[in-house]
Symmetry: C2
Subunit: 218 residues, 2 copies
DNA sequence: CTGTCATTCTATGAAGTGATAGAATGATGG
DNA sequence: CCATCATTCTATCACTTCATAGAATGACAG
């Protein structure tokens, strides 16, 4: 009877490790690929010291592991399932919390004035790639692209979008993706490319979800 | 950019709601069936006041809903997926946390002296039921059994096990189940029934997992 | 419309969490 | 073996969470 509750308490520790926005941001970044503390601190906007502390907590909860590489500590997710776990939590939150719906709405509302910006589902994307009729565009920073991306994706970081337009065809539909459903990069890219006359839509998921689903990555 | 972090903060609230052993216990009890505050307080060993507070938090996180029924407030899980969420968290914790492994080991070790107590998988159970060669035994308290159980299960609450033995056949294999993988009831039942000469094994999951998988319940 | 029962609210103190700054550690390159 | 860089550890303060006890609310039965 007592060890029953001990188990739940231990499980609760894991949940508590997930119970902080900054730590979730760290996990989301780690889902893009392994990274050192400073990289993680920069992309999440934390100080190095603070990021380190949060990473310790994630480590104690068994969610990340760290290995030393020279002066740096490289952190990685222990488990592909952590991506699924966050995804499931997201789904539950989205369908049960009004606040969540409001925030998601706000994220998507800005650019949906023109309508017809529905995101492309995984199924639809697979079909499009199969048929060869679409071009896949990865708008994440180059380092994230290089540590893993969808097959045959072209990488144009959002910051260099206008400079590298020559790599995009005008005559095929473009599907843009980035870090995940809450990542703003692909939204932004779609908006800007549409203004330039491209036929482009957004993939509703991102690289981590694709990988966690067991689909091929490069 | 900012609403990106707001989303993660909101998501973190949900995780924080899961980040307490007592609240997980409440959710596990609710996975057995809807219940009033006092029932929940009794089965989790909390005072009514404290249970009520925890339930408020779960409600704010969108994990449970409450409806009034006369003097009582009946709480229920908002979503079948919450069972999956806890299950996934459990899996991640079990494979990445040494402490978790230790506790699970302890829960199972006591009665495994004789060996051969491997639990029955869902697949195996389905096959056994199909063939009609096994009898399914639900050892949870009657009120939980009545708010839902596996098809064709016989209910003998653990407390009345010896009194109601006449309902169990000697010539067929018995498969016992209870609230879930961490629930001790079916372990205990298996141990005691074996001593009495029954051929009996434990189902490795419980009622909530069965139901969450979309399998038929009564 | 009063008493009772189930539940929620409020106030309190103890314990835990999060951010900051600065000291300490560990690896590396001269 | 000293200087540097990346990271972790430590101490501190503000803030949140948890359990408890007792008051307040809301529904119902007489």
């Amino acid at each position: 009877m007592t060890s029953q509750q001990d188990l739940l308490d231990t499980l609760a520790q894991v949940a508590r490790a997930l119970g902080n926005g900054h730590r979730l941001a760290l996990l989301e970044r780690l889902a893009q690929g392994d990274a050192a503390v400073e990289t993680l601190a920069v992309t999440t906007g934390l100080t190095v010291g603070n990021a380190s502390q949060h990473l310790q907590q994630l480590r104690r909860a068994g969610l990340v592991t760290a290995t030393r590489a020279g002066k740096q500590m490289i952190y990685r997710l222990t488990d592909e399932r952590i991506v699924s776990l966050m995804g499931l939590m997201r789904q539950v939150a989205e369908s049960n919390l009004a606040e969540m719906e409001r925030l998601v709405g706000r994220l998507f509302a800005e650019d949906d004035a023109g309508g017809s910006l529905e995101a492309v589902s995984r199924h639809e994307l697979l079909a499009g790639l199969e048929s060869g009729k679409v071009v896949l565009l990865d708008v994440r920073p180059t380092d994230e692209f290089e540590s893993g991306h969808l097959p045959e994706a072209i990488n144009i970081p959002l910051a260099q979008l206008e400079e590298m337009l020559d790599r995009l065809p005008h005559d095929r539909e473009i599907i843009a993706y980035c870090r995940g459903p809450y990542c703003a990069l692909s939204h932004e890219a779609v908006q800007r490319l549409r203004q330039l006359g491209y036929r482009v839509r957004r993939f509703e998921e991102g690289y981590p979800e694709w990988k966690a689903a067991g689909l091929p990555v490069t």
